[in-house]
Symmetry: C2
Subunit: 282 residues, 2 copies
Amino acid sequence: MVMSLEIVSSNKSFGGWHKRYKHRSSSLNCDMVFAVYLPPQAEQGAKLPVLYWLSGLTCTDENFMQKAGAQRMAAELGLIIVAPDTSPRGEGVADDANGAYDFGLGAGFYLNATQEPFARHYRMYDYVVQELPALIEANFPVSDKRGIAGHSMGGHGALICALKNPGRYQSVSAFSPISNPMNCPWGEKAFSLYLGEERSRWREWDASVLVAEASEKLPILVDQGDRDDFLEGQLKPQTLQAAAKAAGHPLTLRMQPGYDHSYYFIASFIDDHLRHHAEALA
Amino acid sequence: MVMSLEIVSSNKSFGGWHKRYKHRSSSLNCDMVFAVYLPPQAEQGAKLPVLYWLSGLTCTDENFMQKAGAQRMAAELGLIIVAPDTSPRGEGVADDANGAYDFGLGAGFYLNATQEPFARHYRMYDYVVQELPALIEANFPVSDKRGIAGHSMGGHGALICALKNPGRYQSVSAFSPISNPMNCPWGEKAFSLYLGEERSRWREWDASVLVAEASEKLPILVDQGDRDDFLEGQLKPQTLQAAAKAAGHPLTLRMQPGYDHSYYFIASFIDDHLRHHAEALA
Protein backbone atom coordinates (compact mmCIF):
# COMPACT_ATOMS: atom_id res chain seq x y z
CA MET A 1 0.00 0.00 0.00
CA VAL A 2 1.61 3.25 -1.13
CA MET A 3 -0.03 5.92 0.95
CA SER A 4 2.82 7.78 2.52
CA LEU A 5 2.24 10.82 4.64
CA GLU A 6 4.77 13.60 5.05
CA ILE A 7 4.38 15.61 8.23
CA VAL A 8 4.18 19.35 7.61
CA SER A 9 3.74 20.68 11.14
CA SER A 10 2.76 19.62 14.62
CA ASN A 11 1.40 21.68 17.52
CA LYS A 12 0.34 20.43 20.91
CA SER A 13 -3.22 21.52 21.59
CA PHE A 14 -5.41 20.79 24.63
CA GLY A 15 -3.25 17.85 25.59
CA GLY A 16 -3.48 16.37 22.08
CA TRP A 17 -1.91 17.25 18.76
CA HIS A 18 -2.82 19.35 15.75
CA LYS A 19 -0.88 17.93 12.84
CA ARG A 20 -0.73 18.75 9.16
CA TYR A 21 0.25 16.19 6.54
CA LYS A 22 1.08 16.29 2.86
CA HIS A 23 0.44 13.36 0.56
CA ARG A 24 -0.02 12.49 -3.09
CA SER A 25 -3.70 12.15 -3.90
CA SER A 26 -4.60 9.63 -6.59
CA SER A 27 -8.16 10.94 -6.81
CA LEU A 28 -7.03 14.50 -7.40
CA ASN A 29 -3.76 13.89 -9.25
CA CYS A 30 -1.88 16.37 -7.10
CA ASP A 31 -0.26 16.82 -3.71
CA MET A 32 -2.67 17.66 -0.93
CA VAL A 33 -2.36 18.88 2.63
CA PHE A 34 -4.82 18.01 5.35
CA ALA A 35 -5.00 18.65 9.08
CA VAL A 36 -5.90 16.26 11.85
CA TYR A 37 -6.63 16.94 15.49
CA LEU A 38 -5.69 13.98 17.67
CA PRO A 39 -7.12 14.31 21.17
CA PRO A 40 -5.12 13.05 24.17
CA GLN A 41 -7.00 9.73 24.13
CA ALA A 42 -5.30 8.91 20.80
CA GLU A 43 -1.99 8.42 22.62
CA GLN A 44 -3.59 6.12 25.17
CA GLY A 45 -4.35 3.30 22.77
CA ALA A 46 -8.04 4.03 22.21
CA LYS A 47 -9.69 3.64 18.80
CA LEU A 48 -11.51 6.90 18.31
CA PRO A 49 -14.34 8.06 16.06
CA VAL A 50 -13.49 10.58 13.34
CA LEU A 51 -15.32 13.72 12.35
CA TYR A 52 -14.55 14.98 8.85
CA TRP A 53 -14.86 18.76 8.58
CA LEU A 54 -15.38 20.31 5.14
CA SER A 55 -14.60 24.00 4.85
CA GLY A 56 -16.15 26.72 2.75
CA LEU A 57 -15.11 28.82 -0.23
CA THR A 58 -11.51 30.17 -0.14
CA CYS A 59 -10.52 28.03 2.85
CA THR A 60 -7.72 25.52 3.31
CA ASP A 61 -7.29 22.95 6.08
CA GLU A 62 -6.18 25.79 8.37
CA ASN A 63 -9.25 27.98 8.83
CA PHE A 64 -11.26 25.54 10.89
CA MET A 65 -8.33 24.40 13.01
CA GLN A 66 -7.27 27.98 13.80
CA LYS A 67 -10.62 29.67 14.24
CA ALA A 68 -13.38 27.27 15.29
CA GLY A 69 -12.08 26.54 18.77
CA ALA A 70 -13.06 22.89 18.33
CA GLN A 71 -10.06 21.26 19.98
CA ARG A 72 -11.14 21.89 23.56
CA MET A 73 -14.37 19.92 23.21
CA ALA A 74 -12.82 17.33 20.87
CA ALA A 75 -10.24 16.64 23.59
CA GLU A 76 -13.00 16.29 26.14
CA LEU A 77 -15.07 13.97 23.93
CA GLY A 78 -12.20 11.94 22.49
CA LEU A 79 -13.02 12.85 18.91
CA ILE A 80 -10.49 12.94 16.07
CA ILE A 81 -11.17 15.75 13.58
CA VAL A 82 -9.87 15.66 10.01
CA ALA A 83 -9.94 18.81 7.88
CA PRO A 84 -9.10 18.48 4.19
CA ASP A 85 -8.40 21.32 1.79
CA THR A 86 -11.27 22.65 -0.35
CA SER A 87 -9.95 21.86 -3.83
CA PRO A 88 -7.05 20.29 -5.65
CA ARG A 89 -3.97 22.53 -5.67
CA GLY A 90 -0.73 23.08 -7.50
CA GLU A 91 0.72 23.73 -10.88
CA GLY A 92 -1.47 22.50 -13.71
CA VAL A 93 -4.69 22.56 -11.69
CA ALA A 94 -7.20 24.64 -13.65
CA ASP A 95 -8.66 27.65 -11.87
CA ASP A 96 -11.46 30.09 -12.47
CA ALA A 97 -10.83 31.99 -15.71
CA ASN A 98 -10.86 35.28 -13.83
CA GLY A 99 -9.43 34.01 -10.56
CA ALA A 100 -12.79 34.45 -8.83
CA TYR A 101 -13.08 33.18 -5.26
CA ASP A 102 -16.20 31.11 -5.89
CA PHE A 103 -14.89 28.61 -8.43
CA GLY A 104 -11.76 26.53 -9.05
CA LEU A 105 -8.98 26.76 -6.46
CA GLY A 106 -10.50 26.85 -2.98
CA ALA A 107 -13.89 25.99 -4.44
CA GLY A 108 -14.03 22.32 -5.40
CA PHE A 109 -17.64 21.92 -4.24
CA TYR A 110 -17.02 18.32 -3.08
CA LEU A 111 -18.14 16.78 -6.37
CA ASN A 112 -16.53 14.85 -9.21
CA ALA A 113 -16.17 17.11 -12.25
CA THR A 114 -16.99 15.69 -15.65
CA GLN A 115 -16.10 18.71 -17.78
CA GLU A 116 -12.70 19.69 -19.13
CA PRO A 117 -10.38 21.19 -18.06
CA PHE A 118 -11.62 20.33 -14.57
CA ALA A 119 -12.27 16.58 -14.73
CA ARG A 120 -8.58 15.68 -14.42
CA HIS A 121 -8.18 17.12 -10.89
CA TYR A 122 -11.52 18.16 -9.46
CA ARG A 123 -12.72 14.95 -7.80
CA MET A 124 -13.13 16.18 -4.25
CA TYR A 125 -16.07 13.84 -3.69
CA ASP A 126 -13.97 10.73 -4.26
CA TYR A 127 -11.19 12.26 -2.21
CA VAL A 128 -13.36 13.08 0.80
CA VAL A 129 -15.55 9.97 0.78
CA GLN A 130 -13.00 7.31 -0.17
CA GLU A 131 -9.35 8.25 -0.44
CA LEU A 132 -8.96 10.41 2.65
CA PRO A 133 -10.80 8.05 5.03
CA ALA A 134 -8.73 5.13 3.73
CA LEU A 135 -5.60 7.14 4.45
CA ILE A 136 -6.82 8.10 7.92
CA GLU A 137 -7.88 4.57 8.75
CA ALA A 138 -4.50 3.20 7.68
CA ASN A 139 -2.47 5.69 9.70
CA PHE A 140 -4.37 6.72 12.83
CA PRO A 141 -6.03 4.98 15.79
CA VAL A 142 -9.60 5.24 14.54
CA SER A 143 -12.76 3.27 15.15
CA ASP A 144 -15.19 2.43 12.33
CA LYS A 145 -17.42 5.40 13.21
CA ARG A 146 -17.41 8.43 10.91
CA GLY A 147 -19.18 11.75 11.15
CA ILE A 148 -19.15 14.57 8.64
CA ALA A 149 -19.79 18.29 9.02
CA GLY A 150 -18.96 21.51 7.27
CA HIS A 151 -19.61 25.18 6.66
CA SER A 152 -21.23 26.87 3.67
CA MET A 153 -19.83 25.07 0.58
CA GLY A 154 -18.54 22.52 3.11
CA GLY A 155 -22.01 22.24 4.65
CA HIS A 156 -23.28 21.32 1.18
CA GLY A 157 -20.41 18.84 0.95
CA ALA A 158 -21.17 17.23 4.29
CA LEU A 159 -24.85 16.86 3.44
CA ILE A 160 -24.33 15.27 0.04
CA CYS A 161 -21.59 12.92 1.26
CA ALA A 162 -23.88 11.66 4.02
CA LEU A 163 -27.01 11.49 1.87
CA LYS A 164 -25.31 9.65 -1.00
CA ASN A 165 -23.64 7.02 1.19
CA PRO A 166 -26.05 5.25 3.50
CA GLY A 167 -24.18 3.40 6.24
CA ARG A 168 -20.90 5.18 5.68
CA TYR A 169 -21.46 8.00 8.18
CA GLN A 170 -23.15 7.75 11.55
CA SER A 171 -23.65 11.51 12.01
CA VAL A 172 -23.94 14.67 9.94
CA SER A 173 -24.28 18.38 10.61
CA ALA A 174 -23.76 21.70 8.88
CA PHE A 175 -23.29 25.39 9.52
CA SER A 176 -24.88 27.71 6.95
CA PRO A 177 -24.87 25.08 4.18
CA ILE A 178 -25.45 25.87 0.52
CA SER A 179 -28.63 23.87 0.76
CA ASN A 180 -29.97 23.92 -2.79
CA PRO A 181 -26.96 24.65 -5.01
CA MET A 182 -28.89 24.00 -8.24
CA ASN A 183 -30.85 27.13 -7.50
CA CYS A 184 -28.32 29.69 -6.30
CA PRO A 185 -25.61 31.67 -8.10
CA TRP A 186 -22.62 29.95 -6.43
CA GLY A 187 -23.99 26.50 -7.21
CA GLU A 188 -25.19 27.29 -10.72
CA LYS A 189 -21.79 28.62 -11.70
CA ALA A 190 -19.91 25.69 -10.16
CA PHE A 191 -22.24 22.99 -11.46
CA SER A 192 -22.26 24.46 -14.98
CA LEU A 193 -18.50 24.47 -15.21
CA TYR A 194 -17.77 21.22 -13.35
CA LEU A 195 -20.75 19.17 -14.58
CA GLY A 196 -21.93 20.83 -17.79
CA GLU A 197 -25.11 22.66 -18.66
CA GLU A 198 -27.43 19.65 -18.48
CA ARG A 199 -29.27 20.41 -15.24
CA SER A 200 -30.59 16.89 -14.72
CA ARG A 201 -27.02 15.83 -13.95
CA TRP A 202 -26.84 18.39 -11.17
CA ARG A 203 -29.53 16.66 -9.13
CA GLU A 204 -27.24 14.02 -7.65
CA TRP A 205 -25.13 16.78 -6.06
CA ASP A 206 -27.92 18.79 -4.45
CA ALA A 207 -28.88 18.10 -0.84
CA SER A 208 -32.43 19.36 -1.27
CA VAL A 209 -32.96 16.83 -4.06
CA LEU A 210 -31.06 13.99 -2.40
CA VAL A 211 -32.88 14.28 0.91
CA ALA A 212 -36.14 13.44 -0.84
CA GLU A 213 -34.76 10.06 -1.91
CA ALA A 214 -32.45 9.14 0.96
CA SER A 215 -32.93 5.53 2.05
CA GLU A 216 -31.18 6.19 5.36
CA LYS A 217 -32.73 8.83 7.60
CA LEU A 218 -29.62 10.08 9.40
CA PRO A 219 -30.68 13.02 11.60
CA ILE A 220 -29.33 16.32 10.26
CA LEU A 221 -28.39 19.24 12.50
CA VAL A 222 -28.12 22.65 10.79
CA ASP A 223 -27.20 25.97 12.40
CA GLN A 224 -27.80 29.14 10.42
CA GLY A 225 -27.29 32.79 11.41
CA ASP A 226 -30.20 35.04 10.59
CA ARG A 227 -27.89 37.98 9.79
CA ASP A 228 -25.85 35.97 7.34
CA ASP A 229 -25.41 38.08 4.18
CA PHE A 230 -25.69 34.95 2.03
CA LEU A 231 -28.81 33.52 3.62
CA GLU A 232 -31.43 34.55 1.06
CA GLY A 233 -29.35 34.61 -2.10
CA GLN A 234 -27.15 31.53 -1.73
CA LEU A 235 -27.84 29.30 1.25
CA LYS A 236 -31.62 28.68 1.37
CA PRO A 237 -31.80 26.27 4.31
CA GLN A 238 -35.61 26.52 4.28
CA THR A 239 -35.64 24.70 0.93
CA LEU A 240 -33.75 21.82 2.51
CA GLN A 241 -35.99 21.96 5.55
CA ALA A 242 -39.13 21.74 3.41
CA ALA A 243 -37.71 18.85 1.37
CA ALA A 244 -36.73 17.00 4.54
CA LYS A 245 -40.13 17.54 6.04
CA ALA A 246 -41.88 16.25 2.93
CA ALA A 247 -39.65 13.16 2.97
CA GLY A 248 -40.00 12.52 6.70
CA HIS A 249 -36.25 13.01 7.08
CA PRO A 250 -35.29 14.25 10.57
CA LEU A 251 -33.71 17.69 10.31
CA THR A 252 -33.22 20.31 13.00
CA LEU A 253 -32.69 23.78 11.56
CA ARG A 254 -31.72 26.27 14.24
CA MET A 255 -31.94 29.90 13.13
CA GLN A 256 -29.50 31.76 15.37
CA PRO A 257 -30.50 35.38 15.86
CA GLY A 258 -27.85 38.01 15.13
CA TYR A 259 -25.19 35.63 13.83
CA ASP A 260 -23.44 36.03 10.49
CA HIS A 261 -21.48 33.74 8.13
CA SER A 262 -18.13 33.99 9.94
CA TYR A 263 -16.09 31.68 12.13
CA TYR A 264 -17.27 33.76 15.10
CA PHE A 265 -20.62 32.10 14.44
CA ILE A 266 -19.16 28.63 14.03
CA ALA A 267 -17.10 28.94 17.21
CA SER A 268 -20.21 29.94 19.15
CA PHE A 269 -21.99 26.66 18.36
CA ILE A 270 -19.25 24.17 17.49
CA ASP A 271 -19.53 22.49 20.90
CA ASP A 272 -23.16 21.59 20.18
CA HIS A 273 -22.14 20.02 16.88
CA LEU A 274 -19.28 18.09 18.41
CA ARG A 275 -21.62 16.69 21.04
CA HIS A 276 -24.16 15.80 18.35
CA HIS A 277 -21.49 13.81 16.55
CA ALA A 278 -19.89 12.26 19.62
CA GLU A 279 -23.24 10.91 20.81
CA ALA A 280 -23.93 9.25 17.46
CA LEU A 281 -20.39 7.96 17.09
CA ALA A 282 -20.00 6.51 20.58
CA MET B 1 -14.09 65.33 24.36
CA VAL B 2 -13.15 64.42 20.81
CA MET B 3 -12.67 60.68 20.87
CA SER B 4 -14.82 59.41 18.09
CA LEU B 5 -14.92 55.77 17.18
CA GLU B 6 -15.74 54.49 13.71
CA ILE B 7 -17.11 50.97 13.65
CA VAL B 8 -15.21 48.71 11.24
CA SER B 9 -17.02 45.41 11.74
CA SER B 10 -19.30 43.60 14.12
CA ASN B 11 -19.83 39.86 14.63
CA LYS B 12 -22.06 38.19 17.14
CA SER B 13 -20.03 35.74 19.22
CA PHE B 14 -21.16 33.56 22.12
CA GLY B 15 -24.19 35.75 22.71
CA GLY B 16 -22.07 38.90 22.80
CA TRP B 17 -20.30 40.95 20.16
CA HIS B 18 -16.86 41.07 18.61
CA LYS B 19 -16.42 44.60 17.28
CA ARG B 20 -13.59 46.41 15.58
CA TYR B 21 -13.21 50.18 15.75
CA LYS B 22 -11.03 52.74 14.04
CA HIS B 23 -10.02 55.97 15.68
CA ARG B 24 -7.42 58.72 15.51
CA SER B 25 -4.76 58.18 18.13
CA SER B 26 -3.19 61.30 19.60
CA SER B 27 -0.42 59.28 21.28
CA LEU B 28 0.57 57.60 18.04
CA ASN B 29 -0.27 60.34 15.53
CA CYS B 30 -2.06 57.93 13.23
CA ASP B 31 -5.32 56.06 12.75
CA MET B 32 -5.56 52.87 14.77
CA VAL B 33 -7.88 49.87 14.79
CA PHE B 34 -8.65 47.89 17.92
CA ALA B 35 -11.02 45.01 18.70
CA VAL B 36 -13.30 44.60 21.66
CA TYR B 37 -15.24 41.56 22.81
CA LEU B 38 -18.41 42.55 24.64
CA PRO B 39 -19.94 39.60 26.48
CA PRO B 40 -23.74 39.28 26.70
CA GLN B 41 -23.75 40.93 30.13
CA ALA B 42 -22.68 44.20 28.47
CA GLU B 43 -26.14 44.56 26.95
CA GLN B 44 -27.82 43.95 30.29
CA GLY B 45 -26.65 47.16 31.94
CA ALA B 46 -23.78 45.70 33.95
CA LYS B 47 -20.47 47.55 34.41
CA LEU B 48 -17.87 44.97 33.49
CA PRO B 49 -14.16 44.60 34.14
CA VAL B 50 -11.82 44.89 31.16
CA LEU B 51 -8.91 42.70 30.19
CA TYR B 52 -6.41 44.32 27.82
CA TRP B 53 -4.69 41.79 25.58
CA LEU B 54 -1.36 42.71 23.99
CA SER B 55 -0.32 40.62 21.00
CA GLY B 56 3.06 39.53 19.80
CA LEU B 57 5.32 40.34 16.85
CA THR B 58 3.58 40.61 13.44
CA CYS B 59 0.08 40.56 14.95
CA THR B 60 -2.81 42.98 14.64
CA ASP B 61 -5.97 43.14 16.76
CA GLU B 62 -7.28 40.13 14.83
CA ASN B 63 -4.98 37.26 15.79
CA PHE B 64 -6.12 36.92 19.36
CA MET B 65 -9.79 37.40 18.58
CA GLN B 66 -9.75 34.81 15.80
CA LYS B 67 -7.44 32.19 17.26
CA ALA B 68 -7.39 32.20 21.06
CA GLY B 69 -10.93 30.95 21.58
CA ALA B 70 -11.32 33.40 24.47
CA GLN B 71 -14.87 34.54 23.84
CA ARG B 72 -16.57 31.45 25.25
CA MET B 73 -15.09 31.91 28.72
CA ALA B 74 -15.25 35.71 28.56
CA ALA B 75 -18.99 35.36 27.93
CA GLU B 76 -19.29 33.02 30.87
CA LEU B 77 -17.28 35.27 33.19
CA GLY B 78 -18.69 38.60 32.00
CA LEU B 79 -15.31 39.95 30.98
CA ILE B 80 -14.74 42.59 28.29
CA ILE B 81 -11.57 41.99 26.27
CA VAL B 82 -9.81 44.77 24.37
CA ALA B 83 -7.14 43.91 21.81
CA PRO B 84 -5.10 46.78 20.35
CA ASP B 85 -2.79 46.60 17.35
CA THR B 86 0.93 46.02 17.96
CA SER B 87 2.35 49.23 16.50
CA PRO B 88 1.37 52.49 14.88
CA ARG B 89 0.32 52.04 11.24
CA GLY B 90 -0.11 53.94 8.03
CA GLU B 91 1.70 56.17 5.61
CA GLY B 92 4.57 58.04 7.16
CA VAL B 93 5.09 55.58 10.01
CA ALA B 94 8.73 54.50 9.93
CA ASP B 95 9.38 50.78 9.61
CA ASP B 96 12.38 48.48 9.89
CA ALA B 97 14.99 49.47 7.29
CA ASN B 98 14.80 45.99 5.78
CA GLY B 99 11.15 45.29 6.50
CA ALA B 100 12.08 42.71 9.15
CA TYR B 101 9.23 41.23 11.20
CA ASP B 102 10.86 41.98 14.56
CA PHE B 103 11.01 45.76 14.45
CA GLY B 104 8.83 48.67 13.35
CA LEU B 105 5.39 47.85 11.96
CA GLY B 106 3.83 45.06 13.99
CA ALA B 107 6.61 45.39 16.56
CA GLY B 108 6.07 48.48 18.70
CA PHE B 109 7.29 46.75 21.89
CA TYR B 110 4.82 48.71 24.04
CA LEU B 111 7.30 51.45 24.88
CA ASN B 112 7.70 55.16 24.12
CA ALA B 113 10.46 55.64 21.55
CA THR B 114 12.90 58.50 22.05
CA GLN B 115 14.97 58.07 18.89
CA GLU B 116 14.25 59.45 15.44
CA PRO B 117 12.60 58.55 13.12
CA PHE B 118 10.53 56.49 15.57
CA ALA B 119 9.72 58.95 18.37
CA ARG B 120 6.97 60.65 16.36
CA HIS B 121 4.70 57.60 16.19
CA TYR B 122 6.05 54.78 18.35
CA ARG B 123 4.46 55.55 21.70
CA MET B 124 2.57 52.31 22.27
CA TYR B 125 3.11 52.51 26.02
CA ASP B 126 1.17 55.76 26.32
CA TYR B 127 -1.43 54.39 23.95
CA VAL B 128 -2.01 51.16 25.86
CA VAL B 129 -1.78 52.52 29.40
CA GLN B 130 -3.57 55.87 28.97
CA GLU B 131 -5.24 56.67 25.66
CA LEU B 132 -6.93 53.37 24.92
CA PRO B 133 -8.35 52.83 28.43
CA ALA B 134 -9.70 56.41 28.41
CA LEU B 135 -11.39 55.66 25.09
CA ILE B 136 -12.80 52.37 26.36
CA GLU B 137 -14.01 53.90 29.60
CA ALA B 138 -15.76 56.72 27.74
CA ASN B 139 -17.54 54.45 25.29
CA PHE B 140 -18.28 51.07 26.89
CA PRO B 141 -20.03 49.84 30.05
CA VAL B 142 -16.90 49.17 32.07
CA SER B 143 -16.12 49.03 35.76
CA ASP B 144 -12.94 50.54 37.22
CA LYS B 145 -11.19 47.15 37.21
CA ARG B 146 -8.48 46.53 34.64
CA GLY B 147 -6.42 43.47 33.86
CA ILE B 148 -3.64 43.13 31.33
CA ALA B 149 -2.23 40.09 29.54
CA GLY B 150 -0.33 39.28 26.40
CA HIS B 151 1.79 36.90 24.38
CA SER B 152 5.53 37.07 23.61
CA MET B 153 6.25 40.77 22.84
CA GLY B 154 2.76 41.36 24.27
CA GLY B 155 3.63 39.37 27.37
CA HIS B 156 6.56 41.73 27.86
CA GLY B 157 4.13 44.61 27.31
CA ALA B 158 1.62 43.32 29.85
CA LEU B 159 4.32 42.82 32.48
CA ILE B 160 5.89 46.25 32.11
CA CYS B 161 2.54 48.06 32.00
CA ALA B 162 1.49 46.38 35.23
CA LEU B 163 4.86 46.75 36.98
CA LYS B 164 5.24 50.43 36.08
CA ASN B 165 1.75 51.45 37.19
CA PRO B 166 0.89 50.35 40.72
CA GLY B 167 -2.83 50.56 41.34
CA ARG B 168 -3.76 50.84 37.68
CA TYR B 169 -4.24 47.11 37.01
CA GLN B 170 -5.72 44.56 39.37
CA SER B 171 -4.44 41.50 37.47
CA VAL B 172 -1.66 40.54 35.09
CA SER B 173 -0.64 37.43 33.17
CA ALA B 174 1.46 36.45 30.19
CA PHE B 175 2.03 33.65 27.72
CA SER B 176 5.63 33.13 26.65
CA PRO B 177 6.70 36.69 27.51
CA ILE B 178 9.95 38.26 26.37
CA SER B 179 11.00 38.37 29.99
CA ASN B 180 14.35 40.11 29.90
CA PRO B 181 14.40 42.08 26.64
CA MET B 182 17.66 43.90 27.50
CA ASN B 183 19.40 40.56 27.14
CA CYS B 184 17.92 38.95 24.04
CA PRO B 185 18.28 39.68 20.33
CA TRP B 186 14.68 40.86 19.76
CA GLY B 187 14.84 43.24 22.69
CA GLU B 188 18.37 44.49 22.04
CA LYS B 189 17.49 45.40 18.47
CA ALA B 190 14.23 47.11 19.42
CA PHE B 191 15.61 48.97 22.43
CA SER B 192 18.67 50.17 20.50
CA LEU B 193 16.59 51.64 17.72
CA TYR B 194 13.67 52.95 19.79
CA LEU B 195 15.61 54.10 22.87
CA GLY B 196 19.22 54.57 21.73
CA GLU B 197 22.39 52.74 22.61
CA GLU B 198 22.60 53.87 26.24
CA ARG B 199 21.65 50.64 28.01
CA SER B 200 20.85 52.28 31.35
CA ARG B 201 17.76 53.79 29.65
CA TRP B 202 16.55 50.33 28.73
CA ARG B 203 16.09 49.27 32.34
CA GLU B 204 12.73 50.96 32.79
CA TRP B 205 11.29 48.79 29.99
CA ASP B 206 12.52 45.41 31.17
CA ALA B 207 10.24 43.26 33.35
CA SER B 208 13.13 41.40 34.99
CA VAL B 209 14.56 44.73 36.14
CA LEU B 210 11.24 46.31 37.06
CA VAL B 211 10.06 43.37 39.16
CA ALA B 212 12.98 43.88 41.51
CA GLU B 213 11.75 47.39 42.35
CA ALA B 214 7.97 47.02 42.12
CA SER B 215 6.20 48.65 45.06
CA GLU B 216 2.99 46.73 44.34
CA LYS B 217 3.25 42.94 44.42
CA LEU B 218 0.53 42.04 41.93
CA PRO B 219 0.62 38.24 41.46
CA ILE B 220 1.93 37.30 38.01
CA LEU B 221 0.79 34.20 36.12
CA VAL B 222 3.04 33.03 33.27
CA ASP B 223 2.52 30.05 30.97
CA GLN B 224 5.42 28.89 28.84
CA GLY B 225 5.67 25.95 26.46
CA ASP B 226 8.82 23.90 26.88
CA ARG B 227 9.04 23.17 23.14
CA ASP B 228 8.88 26.85 22.23
CA ASP B 229 11.62 27.55 19.68
CA PHE B 230 12.23 30.98 21.23
CA LEU B 231 12.45 29.84 24.84
CA GLU B 232 16.22 29.83 25.32
CA GLY B 233 17.26 32.53 22.88
CA GLN B 234 14.60 35.18 23.37
CA LEU B 235 12.08 34.58 26.14
CA LYS B 236 14.06 33.61 29.28
CA PRO B 237 11.20 33.36 31.77
CA GLN B 238 13.58 31.86 34.33
CA THR B 239 15.37 35.21 34.53
CA LEU B 240 12.09 36.86 35.46
CA GLN B 241 11.30 34.05 37.86
CA ALA B 242 14.65 34.46 39.64
CA ALA B 243 14.24 38.24 39.85
CA ALA B 244 10.72 37.85 41.23
CA LYS B 245 11.88 35.32 43.79
CA ALA B 246 14.71 37.58 44.93
CA ALA B 247 12.24 40.45 45.31
CA GLY B 248 9.56 38.41 47.02
CA HIS B 249 7.21 39.16 44.15
CA PRO B 250 4.56 36.43 43.69
CA LEU B 251 5.01 34.78 40.29
CA THR B 252 3.69 31.44 39.06
CA LEU B 253 5.63 30.15 36.07
CA ARG B 254 4.00 27.07 34.56
CA MET B 255 6.22 25.20 32.13
CA GLN B 256 3.80 23.37 29.83
CA PRO B 257 5.32 20.21 28.40
CA GLY B 258 5.19 19.81 24.63
CA TYR B 259 3.69 23.20 23.83
CA ASP B 260 5.17 25.67 21.36
CA HIS B 261 4.89 29.43 20.72
CA SER B 262 1.66 29.30 18.68
CA TYR B 263 -1.95 30.21 19.31
CA TYR B 264 -2.64 26.48 19.69
CA PHE B 265 -0.74 26.85 22.96
CA ILE B 266 -2.53 30.03 23.98
CA ALA B 267 -5.96 28.53 23.22
CA SER B 268 -5.14 25.51 25.39
CA PHE B 269 -4.65 27.63 28.51
CA ILE B 270 -6.56 30.86 27.87
CA ASP B 271 -9.41 29.76 30.12
CA ASP B 272 -7.04 29.55 33.10
CA HIS B 273 -5.83 33.07 32.41
CA LEU B 274 -9.34 34.47 32.02
CA ARG B 275 -10.32 32.92 35.33
CA HIS B 276 -7.17 34.34 36.96
CA HIS B 277 -8.18 37.81 35.78
CA ALA B 278 -11.90 37.48 36.50
CA GLU B 279 -11.21 36.48 40.10
CA ALA B 280 -8.97 39.48 40.68
CA LEU B 281 -11.30 41.88 38.84
CA ALA B 282 -14.54 40.82 40.50
